[in-house]
Every structure is written in structure tokens, then in C-alpha cells.
């Protein structure tokens, strides 16, 4: 599909809310007309190549009753009451039962290839998002792929469609829908209907805002979008991103992080002291660090404190080592082991102070 062309044709009925994230894309419909939104679902299913990327479409409708593919509207909803309330009925192409939509209900459609069809994974996006924004809520997806709150109340129902090469799985999510309307409108229109159409399974429902009144609509959307987008790609997936592992290793490595540092120098004063007898003195440290390693090093210690040969061999020991306290300590400990006698503690002190100066 010509992506630019697709975007241009569709922008009048939807707008992008998120930067296209390979391989998942989030779209939000700006229409609240159920027929336009259902048409959009079918259009995406028919025309977008879902083999390489998946799509999450977020949408909501003005008050509508939506019946499943093989259902009987006269059996499922109160058409006379809906006519006077100007609530239309729409038949969707996926299976499942009847639902009431209004602006307090969020619809999520997960488009994927048939191979990537996984309703549980999709619902996990929703349940994980809810648990993240309101961890105190008891949210659970059932075997029937409903989402229940407190183990009893349905806040989401699921339906799906499998076509030539692709699939879509959509679900509702009750944020703040008009529950009294549900009770009134989801009743049969007339008595005595006998039919083998697929029936709905009535369940007690509740809104998220009945249990988490502070949950804003935008907050809910953002949580879901983030969960979908964040769950979408695994940067460690070599199949999707061949070679990404070695890129990660390079970034993680010392050579890139520290070894790429432009040449710099360190000039600082070191405070030396001795315990027995108590004495102090100052020394000068001068270092040049190139590619993260000590290129040159001068340690100027008064000869009365420590013989020059010792401070010189100390400086020598650091050459070529990483500018790093651990490496410095390792290099200097070798030197320390060689030296015993009365100067040992002063040398030791100089080493400690040097290491501390290495960050």
C-alpha cells in the first residue's frame, strides 16, 4: 500500500495521535458516527497490508446499539424506544453479542495478520494499562474474553473477524457510559420471537468511573496507547531487528561510553597525610586522558614526603590504564605489594588519594 496515499485519503475521518511506531500504529477516529467508524474498520482490514504492521484504532460513538453479525435486532434491542430516542442500530461484521455505545464507551480495534491474531495479548494491553493507572482496581480478563471488575461486573466485551489475510479484534471499554440507557434499550422489541440467530449473553455491567471517579477519559486513552506502543516492540528481538544485539553491546560497552571522550586533562591538588607521626603535605596531580585512558601522568610529591622514584613509578603504573578508579587501584596495588617498610603507609595513602581523584 502507498502509505502517503492512504494517509491523505483517510485524514478527513481520522487523525494520527501517535508517531507511527514500527510495527504498531495507533490511530484515533475523530468521527462519532458508528457507520463511518465501522466502515473505517472494514476499509483498514481490506486495504492495509497488515502482514508487516499491526494497528490499534481507538474510537467512540454517539449513542448507538451495535448488534453482532448473525444477531436479530428485534430480539436484541428495543427498536421503538430507540426510534423515539433517535438511537440507531448498526450490525457489525464481527460475531458476538449486542452492545450499547455512547461517548462514555471506548472502542479499541486491534488489526493484525491472521498469524498475529491473539485476542488474549490484545486484552492484556487493556488490563495492564488499567492496572498501571489504577492499581487498586480488581481487573481480570475471563475465558470468554470479557473484562470483569471486582470479579463480577463486565466492563468490556470482545468480538472479532477473520478475513482473507488479516484479522481484527475489537472490544468495548466502559468508562462512563449511560447505564440506564443500557437497561432500557437492550430488551426485545416485541414478544414471541423464535430464532436461531446468535443470542447475547446478558451480564451486569459497570463503568470504570463508578469505581475510580478520578479516571479521566484522556488518561485512559493515554494509558492504553502507551501500553500498546510500549508492548509492541521488543528491542532485543533479533528477528525483527537483525543486528540490534551487537548495537546494544557497543552502546553498553566502555569503549563507546568512556573511550569516545575527547582528550582532556586533570590538574588537581592531592592532600596527603600520615598517622604516625601526624603530618600532612600537598601534592600535585597532572593527567592527560585520551580515549578514556591515561596518556600522561605526573605526580609531584615533595621529596621529603616520598622519594621521587616512588611517585614516579606510581605515575608510570597508571600510563595506558583506563581513567577509572578500579583500574587504577588494580594497577597500583601491584606496586604497593612490592614496597614494604616505613614508606608503605605513605605510599598507600598516595595511592588511595590518587584513586579517589579518578572519578
Amino acid at each position: 500500500i502507498d502509505w502517503d496515499c492512504y494517509i491523505y485519503h483517510c485524514w478527513s475521518i481520522f487523525c494520527l495521535v501517535s508517531i507511527p511506531l514500527f510495527p504498531g500504529l495507533v490511530l484515533q477516529s475523530q468521527s462519532t458516527d458508528v457507520f463511518q467508524n465501522l466502515a473505517l474498520e472494514d476499509w483498514i482490514d481490506a486495504h492495509v497490508d497488515l502482514q508487516q504492521r499491526s494497528i490499534l484504532l481507538l474510537w467512540r460513538n454517539r449513542p448507538t446499539v451495535v448488534i453482532g453479525r448473525h444477531q436479530n435486532p428485534w430480539a436484541e434491542c428495543n427498536l421503538p424506544a430507540m426510534r423515539s430516542a433517535q438511537v440507531p442500530v448498526a450490525r457489525r461484521r464481527s460475531g458476538g453479542g449486542t452492545v450499547y455505545h455512547d461517548l462514555g464507551n471506548l472502542n479499541l480495534t486491534f488489526f493484525a495478520s491472521k498469524k498475529a491474531y491473539d485476542r488474549r495479548r490484545n486484552l492484556k494491553v487493556v488490563t495492564d494499562a488499567l492496572r498501571r493507572v489504577r492499581p487498586q482496581l480488581d481487573i481480570q480478563a475471563t475465558d470468554r474474553l470479557d473484562i470483569l471488575l471486582n470479579g463480577r461486573y463486565k466492563i468490556s466485551g470482545t468480538a472479532s473477524r477473520l478475513s482473507r489475510k488479516s484479522s481484527y479484534h475489537h472490544c468495548t471499554l466502559l468508562h462512563s457510559a449511560d447505564r440506564s440507557a443500557i437497561a432500557v434499550l437492550l430488551r426485545p422489541s416485541c414478544p414471541g420471537i423464535r430464532s436461531n440467530a446468535t443470542p447475547s449473553i446478558p451480564s451486569p455491567v459497570t463503568n470504570l468511573t463508578d469505581h475510580a471517579p478520578s479516571l479521566q477519559w484522556e488518561e485512559l486513552l493515554e494509558a492504553v496507547v502507551q501500553q500498546y506502543s510500549s508492548g509492541c516492540v521488543d528491542p532485543a528481538d533479533e528477528a525483527l531487528f537483525p543486528g540490534v544485539g551487537s548495537m546494544e553491546a557497543e552502546l553498553r560497552g566502555w569503549q563507546w561510553t568512556f573511550g569516545k571522550t575527547p582528550k582532556f586533562s586533570v590538574e588537581t591538588q592531592l592532600e596527603l597525610r600520615d598517622e604516625r607521626p601526624a603530618a600532612r603535605c600537598s601534592a600535585q596531580l597532572q593527567l592527560e586522558v585520551k580515549n578514556g585512558r591515561v596518556e600522561s601522568c605526573r605526580v609531584e610529591v615533595p621529596a621529603t614526603w616520598l622519594p621521587e622514584r616512588l611517585s614516579a613509578s606510581l605515575a608510570q603504573a597508571l600510563l595506558g590504564e583506563r581513567f577509572c578508579p578500579h583500574r587504577a587501584a588494580a594497577a597500583l596495588s601491584a606496586l604497593l605489594r612490592c614496597e614494604s617498610g616505613p614508606l608503605h603507609s605513605r605510599l598507600r595513602n598516595l595511592c588511595d588519594v590518587l584513586v579517589a581523584a579518578m572519578g
Binding site: 448473525h70 470468554r144 478475513s163 484479522s167 436461531n196
Partner: protein
Amino acid sequence: MVECQLCYMYGYHMHQRLQSLLFCLTALKFTDKHEWIRVEDNGTGTVGISNFAQEALGDVVYCGLPEVGTQLAQQDEFGALESVKAASELYSPLTGEVVEVNTLLADNPGLVNKSCYKDGWLMKMTIAKPAELDSLMDEAAYERYIHSIED
């Protein structure tokens, strides 16, 4: 009464048995969408879904089938099977006209799962373009196809 192609006799005899046996074995053709079609004696095709498809679908709860008289081109959507898994579209294996629909499925959609090659047939259609049969897979090719997608 069909004339035996091997000895030109009528009536039940050894060649007749052999022929009908061969006929059965070679009769099913498959699409890559897992529909099958069987060419009957009278030249119509009986259409159903394969065992692979019915297993993948799960328990069928509703069969949405076309009206008799519907004209279908090869690969046209002709209906849908609803299961707990999804509403799955059905695609016509050939070009032709729907002449019969399996009415037993209205009250017993589970026949599609229980007997997908026999009692769970979906519809019968005329075969307007017999050459299209060549584009379908025979049973051996279909078996290979299933194994390749399962991997």
C-alpha cells in the same frame, strides 16, 4: 447409471467399484483458504471447510450462508462461520451459482465440526468454469500446504 470407462459395461461390477473408489479419492479439491469442493455425478460442486479449518475455528455456533440463486465468482465471499473464536469469512472455490444450502446447519451448526466432509457440507453450486478446478489443490498438495503453514 454410469457407464464404466474401463469396460463400457453398466451395472455394478469390479470396475465400477474401483472407479467409484478412485472417484472418491480424487474428488476433493482444496483452496488455500481451507474450503473444499467435490464434483458430484450431476456436475454440481459440494462445498465445505476442511478438518484443519474446523479445528482452527473451534465450535461453530452459527453458519451464515448465501441465498439459493446467488452468483459467485471464484474467491468471492459467500458467507461466514461464527465460532467463539471469530466470525470467519467463507470464500467461493469456483465461479458458479448457489443451487442448494445445507439447511440442517441452521439448527445444528456443530455439524461443521463433527462431520466437515460429509454432513457438515455448506452449499452446492454450479461449476461455470471447470478449468478453475485446476487452480485448486488436490488432497496431497493440500496436506503439504497445511504442513508448510503449521511450521
